[in-house]
């Protein structure tokens, strides 16, 4: 049975305003395939499931079409929907226990759809018991009341109930949210069996691990819009939309080695409201965030990409017009992104650098995606700093081309070096030396703003400086602003440097061993702050370190350098867990303190 959803729009009306839950969603569920819907809470996942089942509340206004093979379900009335439910399409809801009747035993409730359709009671109960047993629920559990069961048992009971009439379409809403890992893998097996029975399955979940492992296709929903359609295997490894990447980064998979990062900003419901504009027309439009007040007139409907305020690679064009789904160059993803998916922040082609007779960098290719944290790891003298400084525009390569945000960096530099520099922030290895001892904390942080003459007004400048300082959790008190660097400890100076690097809101931050001058406890604090700011500001981070243990906690991707070459690049988890190059293995082993044991001393005693 094939479900084809076309331009499905659902709007909930409450009192004087409405919320847009789904916005022209297209989706196909095919037999023998698992389609997963992922996205943050409030993105409209459950609404989509309920819409298929015809279970939306009365205040929902539905537009578009949902075809069950050839029939448009939205045109069906309640009488025609009833035979479809359970028999053709079943939905397993989240919050298990709340969906069961507390005064009936589990097996009675599981058998209910059968009994209603005329199966003799005894036979129905027997079948229910068999199905429950297949779900790992023994007879005595099947006899219990819902409140006598654990959350996991209830969830499996509900799954048994959904499958009792063997429907060709199964909608699972967060089937594993309340489950422990063992039960979860059991449920995953059940879902896979259903796929083997050629059922069409819609899996609504937060669990990206589950979605990635089970789903054939995945649709990523954000505020009611599908942001990306992608094959399941690509969800964690090769997402194409910045939102998918951000989701993947926020999810605690077993493979994830770096500390979890959230997604900057917050998603709101899309509020629909109408008001008169200056030109006399009435605008009906949605706001991603709740509008400041009931504004009367004046502004045109907000435009552009919904994700743009939280995106790490938004360009001015992203806030204009509407963004359509487009096929990525590889062809297996469809993304709703003006920039064609995750953009390249930095791209090197065959870049080389030598100092006299010493070759610091052999021809090297490197690509940094917007918003990611890329770690360059290697021992001292491996060319890490040279590469990082070439990326920062501080060192010119001998050969090769480098692109920053799609533009040739060297041409850009010739044309307007200051404009390029203003988009890149640098943190240096030695914080104390990277600030002038003659300048106060205020002047140090204000320096980039003064150089680029961004803020002409002195009080606005002070505000920017104070905001940058409070971002790095430093005091904004006048006494502190007047301090000189030598009055501060290393950690505080490095935080001042971080504030200085970020005060101009750069797109790329190059951090060269930013914590090597700090002791471990201060290092931990500064790193945590750096990563939080990286997410909040949506800045791409090139992090250079000799410490692979540190890189492991920081990086989305790691590049291992040795002797002026990048010898291995890949997702941090893969580099750490399955290093391909011998040198990487050595690096990890030495970091673990497993130094090659000495040959046993032949004793003469």
């Amino acid at each position: 049975m094939r479900i084809t959803i076309k331009k499905l729009t659902v709007q909930y009306t409450e009192d004087d305003h409405s919320l847009l839950a789904l916005d022209r969603v297209n989706l196909t569920l095919a037999p023998g395939r698992i389609t997963a819907l992922v996205g943050e809470s409030g993105s409209g996942k459950t609404t989509l499931g309920k819409a298929i089942m015809g279970l939306l509340p009365d205040n929902a206004k539905v537009k578009g079409e949902i075809f069950l093979d050839q029939d448009n379900l939205l045109a069906f009335d309640e009488a025609r929907m009833t035979p479809i439910r359970w028999a053709k399409a079943a939905m397993v809801f989240q919050n298990g226990a709340a969906n069961l009747n507390p005064v009936h035993r589990l097996k009675h409730q599981v058998a209910e759809p059968l009994i209603q359709r005329g199966t003799p009671k005894k036979q129905a109960l027997e079948l229910a018991e068999t199905r429950l047993k297949a779900m790992g629920l023994a007879r005595e559990l099947a006899d219990r009341y819902p409140h006598e069961l654990s959350g996991g048992q209830v969830q499996r009971g509900l799954l048994a109930m959904g499958l009792i009439l063997d429907p060709p379409l199964l909608i699972l809403d967060e089937p594993t949210a309340a489950l422990d890992a063992v039960t979860k893998s059991f449920v995953a097996d059940v879902i896979q069996q259903c796929r083997a029975q050629n059922k069409s399955i819609l899996l609504i979940t937060h669990d990206l691990d589950l979605a990635g492992a089970l789903a054939d296709d995945i649709a990523v929903l954000y505020l009611g819009q599908v942001m990306e359609h992608l094959p399941g295997r690509d969800l964690l490894e090769h997402p194409a939309h910045p939102y998918t990447l951000a989701l993947a980064r926020a999810f605690p998979t077993m493979d994830a080695v770096r500390d979890l990062g959230g997604i900057r900003g917050d998603a709101f419901y899309r509020m629909v409201h109408a008001h008169a504009a200056d030109n006399g027309h009435t605008h009906v439009h949605t706001h991603v965030a709740a509008p400041d007040a009931f504004h009367q007139g004046g502004h045109a409907p907000p435009e552009g990409c919904l994700f743009q305020p939280r995106c790490t690679q938004a360009i001015p064009a992203c806030s204009l017009g509407s963004v359509a789904m487009e096929i990525t160059p590889e062809g297996d993803h469809r993304v709703r992104c003006l920039r064609g998916g995750i953009a390249q922040a930095l791209h090197f082609e065959q870049v080389t650098k030598s100092y006299g007779k010493i070759t610091a960098l052999y021809p090297t290719d490197l690509t940094l995606m917007a918003g990611e944290v890329f770690c360059l790891v290697g021992e001292t003298g491996s060319g890490k700093t040279t590469l990082a400084m070439i990326a920062a525009g501080a060192v010119s390569p001998d050969q090769g081309t480098r692109f920053f945000q799609g533009r040739d960096m060297d041409l850009w530099m010739k044309k307007d070096a200051a404009a390029l520099a203003s988009r890149i922030g640098i943190i240096y290895q030695n914080p104390a030396e990277s600030v002038s001892h003659r300048l106060t904390v205020f002047e140090i942080v204000a320096e980039p703003l003064r150089i680029h003459n961004t803020v002409r007004d002195e009080s606005a400048l002070a505000d920017r400086v104070k905001a940058a300082l409070s971002d790095v959790h430093l005091s904004c008190a006048p006494e502190f602003l007047k301090r000189y660097p030598h009055e501060l400890n290393m950690g505080a100076i490095q935080r001042v440097c971080l504030a200085r690097a970020l005060v101009h809101e750069p797109d790329l931050l190059v951090a060269d061993e930013p914590t090597s001058a700090l002791d471990p406890s201060v290092q931990a604090k500064v790193l945590k702050m750096l990563l939080t700011l990286q997410i909040e500001k949506g800045v791409t981070l090139l992090f250079v370190t000799h410490n692979i243990g540190l890189a492991r906690k920081v990086a989305d991707r790691i590049g291992v350098m040795s002797g002026g070459r990048i010898i291995e690049t890949g997702p941090a988890a893969r580099i750490i867990n399955h290093p391909a190059h011998e040198y990487t293995r050595t690096l990890i082993r030495s970091a673990q303190g497993l130094i090659r044991p000495r040959a046993p001393v032949s004793s003469s005693v």
Binding site: G393, I426, E433, E447
Partner: protein, 279 residues
Amino acid sequence: MHLDAGQKIRTDPWFLTGAALLGLLFCLAVFGPVLMPWDPYDTSFIPLDPPSARHWLGINDGGMDIFAELLSGLRHTLIFGLTAASAGLVLGSVTGLFAAWQGGWVDQILMRLADIVLAIPSVMILILLAAFFQPPPWVLALTLAALTWPTTARGIRAQALTLKHGLHIQAARHMGGSSRYIIFRHLMPELFPLYLINFAAKLRMAVFMEASLAFLGLFDPSLKSLGLMISFALKYYYMDIWAHWLMPPVLLLSFLIMGTTFVTISLERVFDPRLKSAL
């Protein structure tokens, strides 16, 4: 660091002594001729009159009040010294900074030029110039500056080169700061101690040079200067004039040179880390 330096110099006895001496001499030079009732060019007194209540240091062979002449001489000597020192400092600093910042062949040419100038004996040039052309003192002061800038230029260049590759200046460049911004905002202020040291050293040298030239009789004898006074007084060394005529200019000149020397020593000790460790 710089705050420590400020603190340290304020409590350094060398600096305090030198500064007190110089301060006193500057006050004498600035206000002395105003307070003095006698015009140093007035020749209407009795020549070689010994000291009296009216003329504290007596009258010289030309019938002028020696005390008035002394203060005027001090003033002229100082003006000569300050002119030569300022001009030399500016010339040297600008050259040194420019050479360091530009680097490459500009640096090479300027530094070779400095080597050449450094090889010229400045005393000889000044003596020849003064003897043949009898130029006014300011021409001699500027000539002296033109001959002594290389020492300053070298010092400034060396320090500027170190600073130029310093991380915080690199950082300012990476931030997109223009050369102009970095030179005016970072380099020039950071070289401040060097200006002081060089200025004091040059002042000492110029004062000494002026006295020498005047003593050799290469100055216009109608002018006033400490060196000239010594030179004139020495013509009457067989008379009993040393206490009131010869000694005062010698003492003032010595104090002037001592003051600048003390200040230079103190500044170098506080600001120059290499000397700091040596002492």
